[in-house]
Symmetry: C2
Subunit: 253 residues, 2 copies
Amino acid sequence: MTDDIRQLSQKLAPAQPLPSRVASILSQEISSGRLKPGDRLPTEHQIAESLGISRNVVREAIAQLRADGLVRARQGAGAFVMEPEERLAIRLDPTDLENIEGMEGLFELRALLEGEAARLAAMRRTDDDLAEITAALEDMRGDEKWSEGSIEADLVFHRAIAKATGNAYIHTFVCFICDQIRRSIHMARYANQIKQLVEVNVGEHVVILDALKAGDPEAARSAMVHHITEAGRRIGVILRNEQSNAAEGIAAS
Amino acid sequence: MTDDIRQLSQKLAPAQPLPSRVASILSQEISSGRLKPGDRLPTEHQIAESLGISRNVVREAIAQLRADGLVRARQGAGAFVMEPEERLAIRLDPTDLENIEGMEGLFELRALLEGEAARLAAMRRTDDDLAEITAALEDMRGDEKWSEGSIEADLVFHRAIAKATGNAYIHTFVCFICDQIRRSIHMARYANQIKQLVEVNVGEHVVILDALKAGDPEAARSAMVHHITEAGRRIGVILRNEQSNAAEGIAAS
DNA sequence: ACAAGCAAATTTGTCCTACAACCCTATAAC
DNA sequence: GTTATAGGGTTGTAGGACAAATTTGCTTGT
């Protein structure tokens, strides 16, 4: 209920914070090529005046760009666009994920990363990790909170596996990619059909968990790749070359 | 008040802009768990006063955190720490990379990602891709610009392979991780010994390129994993389980 | 005429104050 | 007891002022 209100207010409100909108404008100027690396962008005063806003707002916008390593401000000289290789953060453009090609690319990356993560997790998982993963699986199949809870439990399952690798970076990256996918999916028509597919989904998770329990790296990796490939197919994403790989996986398990 | 500023500037890098330093402090408060998701962080006034700075600076710092999705500010209510799953960007803390454990984790992730990238590239690379990769290799072995140029050419080589996967996300992530590593390495004592090791390094690249030319996915992956493992070992990073994998790779090639 | 150095203009960095918009709570009125 | 309202607190935006640093151009000395 409150979710509906929040969605609506997000959708309709042009009242996204002003500095963020200015930051979007500027970053679009950069990514579109109108401002090339090395260029100096207009002075804060000029930007403020041309947009009819205060210099404070402009400074906050530039602070956001600076945090991403998109521009570098030098006192007395100006703010300059930096080389694309120097960026300090990864931020995915949500609009890239609205079409199916973007989703396919992201799913491929996800299968790749999480497949390897499952392999490492099979070798390194502690008993605590296993308990956490098992608990997440129980949450998935358990309650009636399908629409919201099962998706959440699904994510907890995947995150727990990434954490079981013992590598904080892998954990960070897997979490990030999964969340990007979830955010995009939530916007689409996914929750509708998930109800019928929960059993299948849970079944695939069980295969993964079994491989982790057995400590079989290749089986874990194959099962994870297969699961993600299938999960993608359920929402219309078809991966190019992983099908054969996934087939191997299902045959091996 | 000014004492606080002096303390603060002594504590952290003196050259970094003030708002970024404040953002680091706050984000550290969050990642260390002193501020948990859902918590409201102190008011801008309190932060400003406690650090002896202006509210303007605090606002710019919070703007950076907001851009990353680390906090969400609601007018009239306050700024709240968001769930870690809601992050919009990945930013690696440079201090995490100063110790050897952080480097090991990042190298493991890199081997994983780039290994798979090489596998995909072997299947999908176009002739144009191959030409680009070959050119990068030529640049590496060619000129006398060892200290700077060869490192750069090395990166170009890896980036070109990631691009040859045809997956923009893989390309983005690989570029990002490589840059993080390069930035850390540049700070360290890497360029000193690279001169003696260029031949070895080039040799490993040749193996990768041959596998890509032949279109052999597994050989490409193995060679890449081996190369990254060795590159890590050259600067003191030892990966846990990839050695055996790399041994397979070198045996297969 | 040339060079070095100095001074002024420009630009970002920081601080300050003020007010609007908004949220939350406590109090008052019914 | 419930609702309305008023108040304080907090973020959002505006605008002005000065400090710090850089760039540029001009002056001045040789």
